[in-house]
Symmetry: C2
Subunit: 404 residues, 2 copies
């Protein structure tokens, strides 16, 4: 399954290998698509994609109508590679208000989503062969992103009881070759929200290690789910706790605009060589071919920094599914935000479990796709009707595999 069957001379061998290795995921998606074609979308419970079913907030729709009706001259032209001053100021003000840290427009680069922001950041900082620590279970794209820019990744498991970072394990993994650590809270795939205590301790440990090694170790905080925290909590602002922090995020989840590719990166003003980093990020945004974040979306999100989709909807979905699944005997950590569960697979082989679930029209992603075999991911950013109709299917699945 992981062997390259035939090498051609026409495309990159690395890319060809990656495609062949991921062909099993594609096959699984194709089987899911075939189920939907056979039974109808309303009878297949597709929990595979982090593609929000909600619509953007009303304020977004209003602002878009206003701009379409009275277009400004030149509103679709190139602007500075960093983005519009107005948008960067608005983002900076939001970050300053939520963190208390004096962030300024010059610390912001608007990007093509968080995926763009991560690639720009990694290209800006990585020398060949330098290491990026990622926390397992991890978003698989991190490995590709680091590799794009000549870096390597070192995987460090989170605490499997809570999915919070394991600071001792992280400290043990740091070497002179460590350039960055990527954290992601609320987390994809676990839904864990990192506590202020953990971030405080992580920040202190990193300061100590940087002094010890006389190096800069960046914390790249990937936060597209930051406005999706439950139970009245909010996500602790990373700039308050970690000095060499770069925040990367998008409006894919909080404004439900994933297809529009609008996000940003922000540097902590107190970071080492912050101006040099920002110059590098603007340059990399240009030369990676992003050039700038989409103009119209920049103009829109400038007005919407205090808007968000309704978080109570996601919380309600979490509660219904969490109660149902724990009631059926599934073993899972209750998420504090985002829209994912990452339960233990009730059978050893998570790929086998996911195939079993497929027989009940429940579509899931195996934990192997996140570096964590023995688990599976549920993306519950789907319509409530799907969640409700899926409940009896979960019961039948639990019975079939001998749970409870």
């Amino acid at each position: 399954m992981f062997k390259i069957e035939e090498q051609t001379m026409s495309i990159s061998l690395k890319v060809q290998g990656a495609i062949e290795r991921s062909s099993w995921i594609r096959r699984m998606f194709e089987e899911g698509a075939a189920l939907i074609a056979e039974y109808g979308a309303e009878n297949v419970y597709d929990f595979t994609l982090g593609n929000p079913s909600v619509e953007p907030p009303a304020a977004f729709q209003q602002e878009l109508r206003r701009m379409a009706e009275k277009p400004d001259l030149g509103m679709h032209r190139y602007m500075n590679n960093a983005g519009y001053e107005e948008t960067r100021t608005s983002v900076a003000r939001h970050l300053e208000q939520t963190s208390g840290v004096p962030v300024n427009a010059k610390h912001i680069v608007m990007t093509c989503g968080a995926g763009g922001a991560l690639n720009v950041t990694l290209k800006t900082i990585l020398n060949p062969g330098e290491e990026v620590i990622i926390l397992t279970p991890y978003f698989v794209e991190y490995k590709f992103y680091a590799d794009n820019h000549g870096g390597t990744t070192k995987e460090v498991w989170t605490d499997p009881e809570t999915f919070q970072p394991d600071l001792a394990a992280i400290e043990a993994a740091i070497t002179r070759n460590t350039r960055a650590i990527i954290i992601n809270s609320p987390n994809n795939p676990t839904g864990a929200v990192y506590s202020a205590e953990i971030l405080t301790d992580l920040g202190r440990m990193l300061e100590r290690k940087q002094r010890e090694l006389d190096s800069t170790i960046f914390t790249i905080s990937d936060e597209p789910y930051a406005r999706l925290a439950f139970d009245g909590n909010s996500v602790p602002p990373v700039f308050k706790y970690i000095r060499n922090a770069i925040l990367v995020t998008s409006h894919s989840k909080d404004l439900a605009l994933p297809g529009e590719r609008i996000g940003y990166l922000a540097a902590n003003p107190s970071m080492d060589d912050v101006e040099l980093f920002m110059d590098g990020a603007v340059f990399c945004n240009r030369v990676l071919g992003f050039v700038n974040a989409p103009a119209l979306m920049q103009r829109l999100v400038a007005k919407l920094q205090n808007e968000s989709v309704d978080v109570t909807e996601y919380q309600e979905k979490r509660d219904i599914l969490y109660n149902h699944l724990t009631g059926l005997g599934f073993d899972l950590v209750k998420p504090g935000g985002g829209f994912y569960f990452f339960p233990k697979s009730p059978v050893d082989d998570d790929v086998e479990f996911v195939r079993e679930a497929q027989r009940h029209n429940i579509l899931l992603v195996p934990g192997s796709g996140f570096g964590a075999p023995g688990y599976f991911r549920i993306a519950y950013c789907v319509e409530m009707g799907i969640i409700e109709r899926s409940l009896p299917a979960w019961e039948r699945l639990a019975k079939d595999i001998g749970l409870a």
Copy 2:
């Protein structure tokens, strides 16, 4: 000027070096901005940027209003990494109509502009150290784009009398290590439109070399100016002439949407291993962090494949400036399309000439920025008023440097 003055340990040494090497261009732009602040934008003749002053066609504005007034459910969500089927079908139909080659939706990936398409293409095909031939004078980003993906560039001069490709020189530059050649017609910075004869001969020569070397050599045809051809001509369709061709383009110029980052790549259906290439391109669009081309713009351009900004405006600007400059004794090739001139610098040092022009409030880019010292670039995609008001300044400049 090209020495790294101080190396830090905090960002990539390669990126730091590139920023320092390009600092002179930045200084020049800053001086230009200072002139604009001092004299007012209407009294400074800024010919530095390929940022069209025209607005998108009326059909674009209408379609945007329609979508804003009656938003479709889910219209801002993720779609397939390759883009909407509807958009890809529309693009394919346009390519089929203009080239006579049976292009299909499966040969198209929608991208974040031509910059995105070029990066996706180069990552898909390049193995470490492989060479990409670029034609001097060249768009400087090509060198960064190839380097992003582990490739190197080999520069081959065009015929300096016509700026058409020099086939003998290209053939002599091809080795077993050559993976691709990038062509760009209408050309930035010269405005040259490559003739059907040249493309025919290039296609034949490449077939012969590929047989000889038993390899695939891709022709990456970068065509954002393809709908901007003058004198009633049209740009010969590359798929008709070159088999292993990948077309990369955007709607930055033809629909005047450069800030929106909407473009595509298309593979010639008769290309070697075309399905493997397309799989690779979809994968690279994902893992480079583009994920997909902006959703709203995809929906818009699906309806606008036969639209274009008014080309006669550009042609009129070309004629006024061309006649004026040749009348003053400047030595330049008459462009067949696009919106650039690339005249010979009347003094040996093009950077010195550009500084001299600045003293007359004329802002230009030195040929050194395109691998061609001894020339300079004029981007005439500016308002007619600026062109008209610049004419006396050009006269004074010509007199000062002793032309005519």
